[in-house]
Each structure stands twice: as structure tokens, then as C-alpha cells.
């Protein structure tokens, strides 16, 4: 079995998938909602996990899986009724199976008896089935080779039933197997052959007598006929070592030869070849003859097929069902990185080309333009390979909701939308935690208990809406509930109590709502089992910002709350606009940019105590001076001499960023600033430009915040964590 150890990883991976399938199916299973196809899928999932587990010797896993499988078998054959109790037991059983798998994977031992209650429950359900519990799996007993070195002479008489060929059994292979066990003399008895007129080509009329001198045990010999001994005659007799072995009588041989008149008659031809076999393995030429002339065998066709067959290569798995191919994730990551570096190199080349004297090198320029185009397309294709729908994350939520619902005693229904929204795998992986906490928050703090809901005229069951969509180049995920909304007085009080806010300060509703994101905040009086466990929304906010994302909340008292999480579509590459401020260069995500323009003096307006404002496209837009925000010397301070880049913020507002110049547009590879340094305000990440120098990628929402601090230092402590949201 050592060879097969290499498949352990495959087994664990696949079992993980099976568990997910089973869980999804079990969560949908209910007394009134029994989909037999799904039940079968669940059965097969458990069955496969059990089967593979046996191959690697995970006996505890196999034993438990067997109990689980038994019940699933009963459900699918409708001998076990689907009740709520049954579904709960099955869900727990699936969990235990997952734990056993994890133990098997990690090589640890599970706690003694931890699965017992569930096993008892499973057996109880199994008892209710009409049939008795299935027999426990018999361990596969390999044929025992009794340590015998005694050579023995055994006579084997084999008279196959007439239609043996109909089940694909073929005496040739069995006889050959006998010859592998020792020295064999094979006689064919053709006495049963009818006349040609009565001969049915697909029936067997022959029987054989084999005299075998062998070291092998009787069990081994019996094994050769294991599939046919039920309905064919197999007589194995052991003789003493010196017993005379019957030899083929010449007369029989001649008869057989004579009988083989018509070619293409499979049995007859077989006779000829078999009789020719004397004392030993058949000679290859005779076997070839045998195989070539037997139309019932696929051998001849397989020769032809061999010429054009496509071998399943090692590594890639060919088309199985759908048009998909399984590829190592590492390979894709490497590919994405290489394409990323290619983007940088292409930018470098473009940069140098810019310095060439104009008018010449026309073809070179055109070629490079094409190259740039291809690089863009290549990048998009490669990124889309790694793009995954968020459903892989969303699918975990029903389970969470179900657990929270029972723990809190609240009725909750989860409605999801936009599961197919795709996002790069680098982002998907980071969605689980924030989503989990947002939903926990909604159910734990937002939704009221059924009685309370009824008292205010709401339906007893609370609703949590989970949705995902692309919006202005990002992915926006919302978790909305129809609960009681944020308890503002309580939140404010807690914030003051924890010294996060000065007492007496006047805060807007939105500012109060956002206090929950301030580090060190927690509204629970007692640490509730759920939300209090470890993380608060402030940690969520920090983790989300580390990814270049934002999280905010909108709340209407009595009606509900809405968490909005926005993340970049990929953490890898970006289409950006390169701008300069002083000697520094920055990159702005193209998706945020509305336009860039040079304002006239008449467009600019200054307001007392506030920063400049500009009139653009019919509305007033606040100006943000980057040189001021970033402390950059030698920059253009007069907006009319520089450029204003109009950007759109995530809440739909507009900002005007004052810069020196717009240098151009290019794709950039997003490099983390944080992995070796730290997060900076207003900075999303960094990139490497064509000349090899680093440029910071700006975060528009961060810039917005920074400019607000600059405006009103009095509210700095609150604004530290708050997002200024427009009124709902």
C-alpha cells in the first residue's frame, strides 16, 4: 500500500469537496423538502470518503463513515423517514466526519468517544428502517498464502456454464492465470461440441482438465475461478506428489483440430490454440493467433485504437464531464506573477521609447503599441483564470446563519444575491472573516427576538440580505438586516465610557454609528458567546483596510442596519493614471477618475475655515491639495497652474485632487507596502514604474479622510475611524 500514499493529498482534497457537497445538501434537507438526487449525492459523498479512507487505513474514520452511510442509504431508499431530528443528527455526523478527516490529515488522535453520541443517534435512526441494519463491512481479506513450499499436483476440472462469455468471463485468462501458478498441462475436452449446424457461436461447449504442478495453495487456485465458481463447474483435486498426471490423448487433439474448420468461429479456434498448449505457458505466436481471431474479444480493435488513442497524461486531468481542466494553484500564481512582471517590463520599454526622437522608429512605436495592447489582454485573461465567484464564500453563510439562529433563539432567513460576482482569488480568501463578522453582528445585535419583532409589527422571522456586485471597479458586498438598527445612545455611552470620545461633544448620527469601528469598542455588556468571541468590528475594519478595502455602516433605528464592504477586484494588477506632485509620482486607480482639467481662477472658491472648492460640471467639488497632505516641497500650489483630477469616491461623492501633472496611463502591478513596512493613510499600495522607481498607489477614500482631518482637527478623534457618509 506504500505506493498509494502519494494519493493521500488528493484524497483529503477531494474529501473536503465531498464534505462541502454533503453539508450543502443536508442544510437544504427538511421533512417537506426531500430531493432524492441530493440525498443520493450526500450518500455518495459519504460513501466515497469511506472508500478512500479504507485504502489509507483510517479505521476510525471508516467505521464512523459506515454508520453515517448506513443511515444515508436508508434515507435514499426511503426506508428511513426524514425528520428534523434526523437532519440535525446528519449535520452533526457530517461535522464529525470533517473532524475525523482533519485528524487523519494531521496525524492526531481524536478524543476518545467524542463521536459516540452521534453514533448512538445514527444507529437509532437506522433501527427505524424496515430492513435490519446493513452488515458491517468485512475487511478485505487478501488471499492468504499459506506458507507452503510443498510442491503439489492438483487437477483442476473446469466446465464453464454455456453462457459464461455473456458476463465477459473468459476461460483463456483463467487458464493462463493457472499457468502462472506453476507448470500446467491443459487438456481440452471437446466432447460437448455440437455439429456445426447447431453451434451457437457465443456459447461455450468446452471443458478443460488442467494438471498443475505448483507451490501455490488451494486457495490461490480457487481464487482463479472466484467469479465463476458459483455457476460453473470447478473441481480442484489434489493428488499426491508422485501421482501420475493424465496427458492429453492424441485422439482428442486430432478431433479438435478437425473440428476447427470455419475460421471466425471463436470457440473452435480457441480449441486449436489451447490444445497446442503443452506443459508450460502458451507460446506467444499462438496466443496472438488466438487473440487476433477472436471477434468477441476487443483485442483486435484495441490494436487499431492504440494508434489513435490519447493517453491521459500524468498531472492534467482530461475532460471529465464539463470542459474543465484541473491545474495546480501554484502554477497559476506563478503565471499571474510573471504576467505582472511582464507588465512592468513593458512599461519600462514604453518609457524609454518615449525618449526617442519623434518621427523616426514608426514601426517600432507601432509594434510596441501592439505589444502593450496584447499585454493588457493577456493580463485580463490571466486574471480571469484566477477569478472566482464569491459563491464559494457565500455558501458557508447558510450554515453560520443556522447556527446563530439556534444559539440566539431568533428566527432568521438569509437571502443572497450576486453569488456569481467574480473576484480574484486573492480577494475571495479574505472575504470570509469580514463577512462572518458582519452577519454575526446583524444577527446578534441587529435582529430582535421573534416576540419583540411581533410586538412592533414586524414578521417573526428576521431577514438578512447578503449581496455582492461590481461597482466602479470594485466589489461591493452588503449585509443588511431588518432589525432594530444601531442603538445610538448606547453606542455613544460606551464610547465615552471607554475614553474613545470626549463627553459633551456633538456627533452626527453617522459619526455615532461608526464608533463601532473604533479600536477598543464593544457594545455587549457581557461578552456574548457569539460576537464577543475574539473579534470586534474594529478588527474587521483594520483587516479590511489592509486589503485596500473599506467598510462602513448605515443604520435606521427600528428599521435595520446595512454594512457595506468594498474591496478591490484584485490585489494584483491595476489600471492607473500616473501623476506627479513635486518630484514625487503617484498612481491613481483609473476606475476612480472622472476627468482631469485645469481650472480657471473663476472656478475656484474659498470658504471660510474650509478648503478650496471648485465648480466643475455644475457642482461644487472640494479640492484636496496633495502636496499639503503629503508634505511635498517644490510642488505647484496654485490649482490654476497645475491640474485637478476629479475623482469619485465610493459613496458617490466627488473630490478634486490638485496635482502638478498627469504623466500618463498605464497598467501597474500592485505591490504591497505593508508586507515589509506598514499601512499609510491615503495609500493603498505601491508599484514599480517603468524606470524602476517606486510610486505609491493612492487610496481615494483615504485621501478624503485625510483631508477632513486637515479641515477640522476638533473632530479628529472621531474622524479617525469614521467615514463621512452622506445622509441616507
Amino acid at each position: 500500500m506504500e505506493d498509494l500514499q502519494q494519493f493521500k493529498q488528493t484524497y483529503f482534497d477531494e474529501s473536503g469537496e465531498f464534505l462541502a457537497v454533503a453539508e450543502a445538501g443536508l442544510l437544504r434537507l427538511a421533512p417537506g423538502n426531500v430531493d432524492l438526487d441530493e440525498v443520493n449525492a450526500i450518500f455518495r459523498a459519504v460513501h466515497s470518503i469511506k472508500g478512500g479512507g479504507g485504502a489509507f487505513g483510517f479505521s476510525e474514520l471508516v467505521a464512523f463513515a459506515h454508520e453515517f452511510e448506513t443511515v444515508m442509504d436508508g434515507v435514499r431508499s426511503c426506508t428511513i423517514a426524514v425528520t428534523d431530528a434526523l437532519v440535525n443528527t446528519l449535520i452533526r455526523a457530517n461535522d464529525i466526519l470533517a473532524q475525523l478527516l482533519a485528524h487523519a490529515r494531521d496525524g492526531t488522535k481524536p478524543e476518545l468517544g467524542f463521536a459516540d453520541p452521534v453514533v448512538v443517534a445514527l444507529r437509532h435512526h437506522a433501527q427505524t428502517a424496515a430492513d435490519a441494519v446493513q452488515e458491517s463491512p468485512a475487511p478485505s481479506t487478501p488471499a492468504t498464502n499459506l506458507p507452503e513450499t510443498v510442491s503439489r499436483v492438483v487437477t483442476v476440472r473446469f466446465q464453464p456454464k454455456a453462457d459464461l462469455l455473456m458476463t465477459g468471463n473468459d476461460p483463456t485468462f483463467m487458464l493462463r492465470a493457472l499457468t502462472h501458478l506453476g507448470t500446467a498441462e491443459i487438456e481440452c475436452d471437446v466432447g460437448g461440441l455440437p455439429t456445426l449446424a447447431h453451434l451457437e457461436p457465443e456459447l461455450l461447449y468446452l471443458q478443460w482438465l488442467v494438471t498443475l504442478t505448483t507451490d501455490a495453495s488451494l486457495v490461490d487456485i480457487q481464487d482463479v475461478f472466484e467469479f465463476v465458481s458459483d455457476d460453473s463447474l470447478v473441481e480442484i483435486t489434489e493428488h499426491s506428489a508422485d501421482g501420475a498426471s493424465p496427458t492429453a490423448s492424441p485422439s482428442e487433439t486430432d478431433e479438435a483440430a478437425g473440428g476447427a474448420v470455419t475460421p471466425g468461429l471463436a470457440p473452435a479456434t480457441r480449441t486449436e490454440a489451447t490444445v497446442a498448449t503443452v506443459a508450460g505457458a502458451a507460446s506467444p505466436s499462438q496466443l496472438a493467433l488466438y487473440e487476433a481471431s477472436a471477434p468477441a474479444l476487443a483485442a483486435g480493435d484495441s490494436k487499431a485504437a492504440a494508434g489513435k488513442s490519447s493517453t491521459a497524461g500524468d498531472g492534467a486531468h482530461l475532460n471529465l464531464g464539463g470542459h474543465t481542466i484541473r491545474v495546480d494553484l501554484d502554477k497559476i500564481d506563478r503565471l499571474v506573477n510573471m504576467v505582472g512582471e511582464m507588465v512592468i517590463t513593458q512599461a519600462m520599454v514604453a518609457e524609454h521609447v518615449r525618449d526617442l526622437p519623434p518621427g523616426q522608429f514608426q514601426e517600432l512605436l507601432e509594434g510596441l503599441e501592439q505589444l502593450a495592447q496584447h499585454t493588457r489582454e493577456l493580463r485580463e485573461s490571466v486574471m480571469s483564470i484566477r477569478a472566482q465567484p464569491v459563491s464559494s464564500v457565500f455558501s458557508r453563510m447558510p450554515r453560520l446563519v443556522r447556527e446563530l439562529s439556534s444559539e440566539t433563539g431568533k428566527d432568521v432567513v438569509l437571502i443572497t444575491a450576486g453569488e456569481n460576482t467574480e473576484v480574484d482569488k486573492t480577494v475571495v480568501e479574505n472575504l470570509v472573516d469580514p463577512l462572518t463578522h458582519m452577519i454575526r453582528n446583524s444577527i446578534d445585535h441587529g435582529l430582535e427576538k421573534p416576540d419583540d419583532r411581533e410586538a412592533v409589527g414586524k414578521p417573526r422571522t428576521g431577514t438578512v440580505h447578503l449581496s455582492a456586485q461590481h461597482r466602479s471597479g470594485r466589489i461591493v458586498i452588503e449585509v443588511a438586516d431588518d432589525g432594530r438598527g444601531i442603538d445610538r445612545p448606547k453606542v455613544l455611552q460606551t464610547a465615552i465610557k471607554r475614553g474613545l470620545v470626549q463627553p459633551g461633544i456633538n456627533l452626527s448620527d453617522e459619526e455615532i454609528d461608526n464608533l463601532i469601528f473604533v479600536p477598543g469598542f464593544s457594545t455587549a455588556d457581557k461578552i456574548s458567546n457569539i460576537s464577543g468571541r475574539g473579534v470586534g468590528m474594529d478588527v474587521v475594519r483594520r483587516n479590511v483596510s489592509n486589503l485596500g478595502g473599506r467598510i462602513g455602516v448605515y443604520s435606521a433605528p427600528g428599521q435595520g442596519s446595512r454594512f457595506v464592504l468594498s474591496l478591490p477586484l484584485t490585489l494584483a494588477v491595476l489600471d492607473g493614471m500616473v501623476i506627479s506632485v513635486g518630484l514625487e509620482r503617484f498612481v491613481l486607480p483609473l476606475t476612480n477618475i472622472v476627468e482631469s482639467l485645469r481650472p480657471k481662477a473663476t472656478d475656484l472658491h474659498g470658504l471660510v475655515n474650509r478648503c478650496d472648492v471648485m465648480m466643475a460640471r455644475g457642482e461644487y467639488v472640494r479640492l484636496v491639495y496633495l502636496h499639503q497632505l503629503f508634505g511635498i516641497p517644490d510642488a505647484i500650489v496654485d490649482a490654476t497652474k497645475g491640474l485637478v483630477v476629479l475623482v469619485e469616491t465610493e459613496d458617490g461623492g466627488r473630490l478634486g485632487l490638485v496635482v502638478d501633472e498627469v504623466l500618463g496611463q498605464q497598467q501597474v502591478v500592485i505591490k504591497s507596502l505593508e508586507s515589509n513596512y506598514r499601512r499609510l493613510d491615503g495609500v493603498a499600495a505601491a508599484t514599480i514604474l517603468g524606470d524602476g522607481r517606486v510610486a505609491l498607489i493612492l487610496d481615494v477614500a483615504g485621501l478624503q479622510e485625510m483631508s477632513q482631518h486637515a479641515r477640522s482637527p476638533a473632530s479628529r478623534s472621531v474622524a479617525d475611524a469614521a467615514i463621512q457618509l452622506p445622509a441616507l
Binding site: 477598543g520 508634505g631 499609510l680 514599480i688
Partner: protein
């Protein structure tokens, strides 16, 4: 064994590499900033390169010079002189950046020149006095070593820039207070 072979020495390396004769010894790369000589454990040194212009980072203390592109990854460059209050270094191409790795983080330290690679055994290292020694706050020191009449201040690289990168408890608390 340490990795002298991976050091792309551009600055001057005086003296021979002293082989670590026994396991009690550890190798240190030493360098100078002004008149002071410092050392860091060779195991944390990834490479040594000549200075290249950084891209500035906004709103940071003067000892954070900026970031550079190190073969595709972005690392911060800290000015050791400025870190210890000696003012910003006036860089030239002859200055040296010691690239160190601490845990998952890689960063560069700007120094004047590389001095030596010394094998120092534990018992040769004196613990730093608790009061400030010269320019250096003793919490960043892992010890002092005397070599041929000169004193080498051994730096604790992990601690040196932990505050800056938010790796220590202090920065977390500071965030709360604000």
C-alpha cells in the same frame, strides 16, 4: 553555517572572514555610521547593496527615507544615523544599504560603510548599560563588543524598527489612546 556567500559586498570589507570555530560563536556584520561602529547578526542580513535613490513616503519621521524596489518587492530604507538622532545622512553613491530580514519583513538600513565580519562568542558580549550610550537608546541594543580597541555596538534588528512598523505593543496602545 552563516551565509557569507550570499553577501554582495559592494562596500569595503576589511579583514578576513573569521570562521566560526565553535558553535558558541556567531558571526556579525559590522558597519560604521560616523565614528560609531555597529554590528548585526549575519543571519539576519540578506544582502548588502550600494545606495540607490528612494521614493519618498509622506508624513513620516526623517529616519524613514522612503522605499526602494528590491527585485520586485518594496522595502523601506531607514537612515540609521537619523534613527539615533544624528540627523539625516547626506547620501552619496558610496553609501551602503544593509538589507536585513526580521521574520517576514525585509528592510534596508542606510549606513556609511561596511566594516568587517566578526565571529563573536556569547561570553565576549557585554550587556549594554541601562542608561543611554552615546546616541543609541539601549533598548535597541543586544550588547557591546570590544574588538582591537574599538567598541562595536551590537544592534537588535528586530527591536530597532518594530515601533516604526507597528510590530510592537506600544504602537497598538498608541492607536487606542488617539
Amino acid at each position: 553555517m552563516s551565509k557569507p556567500s550570499s553577501l554582495a559586498t559592494i562596500g569595503s570589507v576589511r579583514g578576513d572572514v573569521v570562521a566560526a570555530a565553535n558553535t558558541n560563536e556567531e558571526q556579525y556584520v559590522t558597519f560604521t555610521v560616523g565614528n560609531e561602529e555597529y554590528g548585526v547578526n549575519i543571519l539576519s542580513v540578506r544582502e548588502i547593496r550600494g545606495w540607490t535613490p528612494e521614493s519618498r513616503l509622506p508624513n513620516l519621521p526623517d529616519y524613514v527615507r522612503g522605499v526602494i524596489n528590491l527585485r520586485g518587492i518594496i522595502i523601506p530604507i531607514f537612515d540609521l544615523r537619523a534613527r539615533f538622532g544624528g540627523g539625516t545622512t547626506e547620501v552619496t553613491k558610496r553609501h551602503v544599504v544593509v538589507v536585513v530580514q526580521v521574520g517576514e519583513r525585509t528592510r534596508g538600513i542606510l549606513v556609511d560603510a561596511i566594516s568587517d565580519i566578526l565571529a563573536i562568542s556569547r561570553d565576549q558580549i557585554k550587556s549594554p548599560p541601562t542608561m543611554e550610550t552615546g546616541m543609541v537608546d539601549s533598548q535597541y541594543l543586544s550588547g557591546l563588543f570590544t574588538a582591537e580597541n574599538r567598541m562595536v555596538t551590537l544592534l537588535d534588528v528586530a527591536r530597532l524598527f518594530a515601533v516604526e512598523t507597528g510590530d510592537d505593543e506600544h504602537s497598538n496602545q498608541r492607536a487606542l489612546v488617539n
